[in-house]
Symmetry: C2
Subunit: 289 residues, 2 copies
């Protein structure tokens, strides 16, 4: 899907270059680059760039935050695919399926560490605080992943939604939180709520479009939890779609209360996911098949 | 083995606390703590504390650098054990053997990320540079690990030594390099050489003491590479010990040229490894069985 923001499009090549610079050279770096080269919509990088523009941050900072957020997201994808045994990603073999588990572990570690280097690649007086907030987001993501890994087949609809939000929310909130910190705005209390609701609303939309495939593959699917609990397929679909719309509306409301209008790109993302509820994919799922 | 430096002993409890604070709460944090609780000599933390003392850094900085260096080392152990299939660590089941591969992957990621948070837990004006140098060390360690993983059974003695230095040198150099940066000394060119020679000298000493066990287990062992190449056991042992002594002497020489006598703790560590060449273990091997 094309992005309609010309500013973001102009700076994205610099973000792509920064990500690769931070990975350096060698086998693990080339595996990590191979993963980056396979595509992805760079939603988190674009969110960072759009938010930074509203806050009037310097371009060097914008590129650093965008590259850091995206490196972290890709680290989580590489390690999640390995843990979940997902064999494909972005229509290609997952990194572990192509190069082996040990290589994917190394490449994911390198991506994770490179995210911190990218974050400090633009000098600011608030680097320490930004690093601390990034670790907070990583720790929260890992906690969400642990919950996801321990989810059983009798998972309830509500719990599945909570897990989706807990796992993906922190890394969606992160670019916005980092921009606020670097703009010296401490009030980020609505960002996490907006991002968590957006993440779960998105996951429902994605699971609606993947329902048949996930049921065949036996993969966790939020809509399928309703079917497992006795709903008909059409009632489970309707219930999930209504729930997703409510989550996305609440996400937008929370995003609009972020200071200095810095939540508007997050609100726009919620809009795009809602538009996409008919089946169009606007973000990359953590469980893309 | 008891450490003879009373300063370091006094501050170590604060380092232990800082490491755990950075891990936070939840399942992954408790797994990571379980790994830390299993022991280890904290050689890298003590090296940080001893170096920082010589440079007159503030105590808050010393604790931050020590905790960061040790968290990183332990992240590498958790992921290495998983990759190498080593089932025991510090006389207990390795984390993956106890809690499963997915849990060990999460705990290692958390330890890695927490190292960055620990590093910035003391405010300094040189945080950005310190983070960049830490990533450099992580990337170099990963490159060494990739080489180690791809080593074949016909590995030469010299190549095995190079791999040992490349894999463990960067994280031994790191605490010293961080202290120098935070003391605003940019000249760290001898630190990496001293640490790489120390790491390989140590690994030879360790492989000398583990020779029989490693040969039975089929684990890579530097001394065994000479036996595989046709040396008798006693000639291979003598050759390896002489080589290790030379590496350690060269390490000491390099360490002594580090500015402001900041390499002396590294030189002292080389001394202790040499004393231990008779079989005493003074550092933890990356391939401890």
């Amino acid at each position: 899907m094309k992005h309609d923001n010309s500013f973001a499009v102009d700076v994205m090549p610099s973000v792509e270059i920064r990500m690769r610079e931070m990975l350096g050279h060698g086998t693990a770096a080339s595996h990590a680059c191979r993963h980056l080269d396979a595509g992805g919509n760079r939603v988190r990088a674009r969110l960072a760039l759009d938010t930074a523009r509203i806050l009037g941050l310097p371009e060097a900072t914008n590129i650093a935050v965008a590259a850091a957020s995206e490196l972290l997201h890709n680290a989580s994808l590489v390690h999640d695919d390995l843990q979940d045994g997902d064999t494909t990603r972005r229509g290609q073999p997952a990194l572990w399926a192509r190069f082996g588990a040990a290589s994917a572990l190394c490449a994911g570690d390198l991506l994770l560490s490179a995210a911190y280097a990218a974050l400090v690649s633009a000098a600011t007086s608030r680097t320490g605080r930004a690093v601390a907030v990034m670790h907070e987001a990583v720790a929260a993501t890992i906690a969400g992943q642990v919950d996801d890994l321990s989810a059983t087949s009798d998972l309830s609809f509500e719990r599945a939604i909570d897990i989706a939000g807990a796992k993906s929310g922190p890394l969606i909130a992160l670019p916005v939180r980092l921009c606020l910190i670097l703009a010296e705005i401490e009030d980020d209390r609505h960002v996490m709520r907006a991002a968590t609701l957006l993440a779960s609303g998105y996951q429902i939309a994605d699971d609606l479009s993947d329902l048949e495939g996930d049921r065949l593959a036996g993969t966790t699917n939020i809509v399928a939890t309703s079917i497992n609990a006795g709903h008909s397929v059409s009632s489970a679909r309707a219930r999930a779609a209504a729930y997703a719309r409510a989550q996305l509306a609440a996400s937008r409301d929370a995003a609009r209360t972020v200071p200095r209008r810095a939540g508007l790109p997050l609100a726009a993302l919620a809009d795009r996911v809602e538009t996409g509820l008919a089946g169009m994919r606007v973000m990359e799922a953590d469980h893309a098949t």
